[in-house]
């Protein structure tokens, strides 16, 4: 078995599933276990400065071996797996030189990964596909990213003749529940540029993500015994429905794609006296983003004009912002990554992320941080898979980036 596959199998067998219910940091104790394993392996590679903090963040750095002033670069991946599907008892299997036929994941349970359902599988014909046994997720999101960074580190340590600047490695816990950058002590990653290895399939690279806000709309009704309420009851649920009606229905997740933004009602709860609506506001463009937020307030005003001041209130909070604002200030962070891909003979597929990414918060902490593919697909489900070849290509891209930074 190839070293990267061995490494990957070793990591996915540790169940590091995050759960929304957990109030611990990290959410799963096993993130410590995986973190410790990685610190040990990094040290075995000869990287002395490798350690884990009390929240399971793993930090490591490889000093520059050059006299020249080369900017420090960092690579990030996350330790946890998604809450959507169990990560316990992952039993990975390689389908070598895949022939393009449906893949039986589990004979007993009759779980089959059909090409018809996942047509993009065809891109992997002839490759070695790593799949699950149909009872768990694979955990390639993001243990493939970890394995690739680890393999790249091994290469760097085994080839001292190759010139490089300072290299930082950071593995974070609890990305899947939105906490990975919440508790990061970025002082421990003093790099000028960063890359998260958490993208999708071969060639994917992201420089942009949504601007995201959460709007909480509170409706105040008047509860009166319903039998005696003619002309007096004001039902907060019905006024809430009216509010939702006033949002443009065509601008919802189900009707948008590409660079289109949306309003997304994620939650509605309440009774006659009080109701609360949660709306996710998303847009790539700064102007569009502000317009959307303003529209929520306008809708509130419009309704209050009829129902009386204070009937409806909105509170809008930024959740994360489009990293392109930061990335565009440093075009080299884009250019070098694209060149690193071309040198690895990969056609870059630049995709705006219709969501958030850790690189967004990291970018706004002062380190522009695009996201690069780690080679998996069907994340968060039992159909998750990755190919050995994509993982090798991702490792190559990491090494190329290190090389290009040293060259320039």
């Amino acid at each position: 078995m190839k070293p990267i596959v061995e490494r990957f199998f070793r990591y996915v067998k540790i169940d590091t599933q995050s759960t929304w219910e957990s109030t611990d940091i990290p959410a799963s104790k096993n993130e410590f276990v995986l973190g410790q394993m990685l610190v040990r392996e990094l040290k075995e590679l000869g990287i002395e400065n490798a350690w884990m903090d009390e929240k399971a963040y793993v930090f490591a750095s490889i000093p520059s071996n050059s006299d020249r002033d080369i900017p420090a670069v960092a690579f990030f991946a996350h330790l946890d797996t998604a809450p959507d599907e169990t990560g316990a008892g992952v039993n990975p299997r390689i389908v070598e030189n895949w022939d393009g036929e449906d893949i039986v994941l589990n004979q007993n349970k009759n779980i089959v990964m059909r090409v018809e359902d996942f047509p993009y599988l065809r891109d992997s014909i002839g490759k070695d596909i790593i799949v699950t046994d149909g009872t768990t997720l694979l955990g390639a999101d993001d243990k493939a990213g970890i394995a690739e960074i680890m393999e790249a580190a091994r290469h760097v340590m085994e080839h001292p003749e190759e010139e490089h600047g300072e290299i930082h490695i950071c593995f974070t816990p609890d990305e899947e529940i939105g906490n990975s950058t919440e508790y990061i002590d970025i002082k421990n990653v003093p790099a000028k540029y960063g890359y998260t290895m958490d993208g999708g399939e071969l060639g994917e690279i992201n420089f942009e993500n949504f601007n995201a806000a959460t709007a909480t709309v509170t409706v105040h009704g008047t509860a009166i015994h319903p039998g005696e309420s003619k002309g007096r009851m004001r039902n907060a649920v019905l006024m809430g429905v009216e509010f939702i009606n006033k949002l443009p229905w065509r601008e919802s997740p189900v009707n948008t794609e590409g660079y289109e933004g949306f309003y997304h009602v994620t939650d509605f709860k309440g009774s006659v006296d009080r109701a609360e609506i949660t709306i996710a506001v998303r847009d790539f463009e700064e102007v569009g983003y502000e317009v959307r937020k303003k529209r929520i307030y306008q809708t509130v005003d419009f309704m209050n004009d009829y129902y009386g001041p204070g009937t409806i209130e909105a509170k809008i909070e930024d959740y994360y912002l489009n990293m392109s604002r930061e990335v565009e200030k440093h075009p080299e962070v884009k250019e070098y990554a694209l060149e690193a891909m071309r040198r690895a003979k990969i056609e870059p597929i630049v995709i705006p992320i219709r969501g958030g990414t850790d690189g967004s918060s990291i970018s706004f902490m002062g380190m522009p941080c695009p996201n690069i593919f780690m080679g998996s697909a069907n994340s968060h489900s039992i159909y998750e898979y990755c190919t050995v070849q994509s993982m090798e290509k991702a490792t190559e891209v990491i090494l190329n980036i290190i090389k290009i930074f040293a060259e320039k």
Partner: protein, 409 residues
């Protein structure tokens, strides 16, 4: 102070507020305390057969004093007060010969009881009103009924010449929490007819109430990362909204009155994957009631036709039914009740109850049980008040009922 006011003040000074957090009956210890006080007082009137059970229900029985067969009657009121408003440290005050203006309940807090807001006050011009100090409820919701029943029993004890059949008294705990009918032992109240004494203005009598069902509508959506949701996501909240839009918007509590029924969405909770709505369906007429229940189911079917089978699931359960069908079986019941009210010099007002009463459940347990007014107004609020003269009238009506049922037989 006249005896009935004295009595009422004594009862409201005991804080018997129910506690929704306690899953026991009685939900507050003071309800038992009040029951014990009432037991003592009944015994002083010479009522021998009184017990308080382990859940603080007080049951009393006064034997018939005539040879002939007379239908037995039960009178029912409740010990607890509403958990909605502070109920401790009630400081009742009498406003004598009410002049029709506003009453300042609390100067410091600026709480005013005004006829502009509560026009029913004007019906009591010239009477003596008992009001709160604006910081608590009054407790007349429950205790006015108890006071009136107690005064009526006292009257009977002082007038052994009044002929009467067997009389039962039940004071229940936790009416506001619904335990009163959950835990009542009807075998202790083997009366022919019953009357709850509760709420309503002078002369009011209720023997019709809503048929009531609860419909639970479950919407099944499908979640997917919103950034990759195009043409795939089914947002249960937005689907729920479609459902709500299909329900006639002018048949809601806030647009109906009198005999008009309604659909009332009382609760919604959910996210993208599932959303659950609670609808209260109400109608007096049983055909309309069935139609409404059916309509909710049809709405789900109509939407499922487009959004896919199983997207909307509906469960409808009867909650309570109109007691009219039980009461109408005994025409003499309402005839005598109306007569008893007229005899007190009041014009009876038959008003349909746009809700349920304990008498509804009791009627369906086999004892037809209309409601007669106790006279309290604005229950469950700091604006609660009651007129002394109305309490006296209610007492008279109870005595009259007892007499008429004995005379008519």
């Amino acid at each position: 102070m006249i005896p009935i006011v004295n009595r009422f003040f004594r009862y409201v000074s005991i804080d018997t507020q129910g506690n929704a957090q306690e899953n026991v009956c009685p939900s507050s210890e003071n309800q038992r305390f009040l029951a014990e006080l009432l037991l003592d007082e009944l015994q002083e009137f010479g009522v021998e057969d009184v017990i308080i059970d382990e859940k603080s229900f007080l049951y009393a029985r006064i034997p018939s004093n005539v040879e002939r067969e007379v239908p037995s009657l039960a009178f029912i009121a409740h010990l607890d007060t509403s958990p909605e408003v502070p109920g401790g440290n009630v400081k009742p005050r009498i406003v004598e010969k009410y002049d029709g203006g506003s009453i300042l309940l609390n100067k410091r807090l600026g709480v005013i009881l005004s006829p502009e807001e509560f026009p029913a006050m004007l019906e009591h011009k010239g009477e003596d009103l008992i009001v709160t100090d604006g910081t608590t409820l009054l407790g007349a919701d429950g205790k006015a009924g108890i006071t009136e029943i107690m005064e009526a029993i006292k009257h009977l004890s002082e007038h052994p010449e009044i002929e009467h059949g067997e009389i039962y008294i039940v004071f229940t705990p936790d009416e506001e929490l619904g335990y009163s009918t959950d835990f009542i032992s009807m075998e202790r109240v083997p009366a022919r007819f019953g009357f709850t004494v509760e709420g309503g203005s002078v002369g009011e009598i209720n023997y019709e109430n809503f048929n009531a069902a609860t419909a639970t509508v479950r919407v099944n959506g499908s979640n997917i990362h919103p950034g990759a949701a195009r043409n795939k996501m089914k947002n249960a909240v937005l689907l729920a909204q479609k459902f709500i839009s299909c329900i006639p918007e002018n048949e809601t509590p806030e647009s109906t009155e009198n005999y008009e029924g309604y659909y009332h969405i009382s609760d919604i909770r959910g996210g993208i994957e599932k959303c659950i709505m609670t609808y209260n369906i109400r109608d007096f007429n049983s055909e309309n009631y069935s139609f409404r229940k059916e309509r909710i189911k049809k709405t789900a079917e109509f939407l499922n036709e487009y959004y896919g089978k199983g997207t909307f699931e509906v469960q409808v359960e009867d909650y309570y039914l109109n007691m009219k069908q039980k009461v109408d079986a005994y025409p003499e019941l309402m005839e005598n009740a109306e007569k008893a009210i007229r005899l007190a010099g009041i014009e009876p007002k038959c008003i349909p109850v746009r809700g349920g009463t304990d008498g509804v459940t009791i009627s369906f347990m086999g004892m037809p049980c209309p409601n007669i007014f106790s006279g309290e107004q604005n229950g469950q609020s700091v604006y609660e008040f009651i007129s002394v003269q109305t309490m006296e009238k209610a007492t008279q009506v109870i005595v009259n009922l007892i007499r008429i049922f004995a005379e008519a037989s």
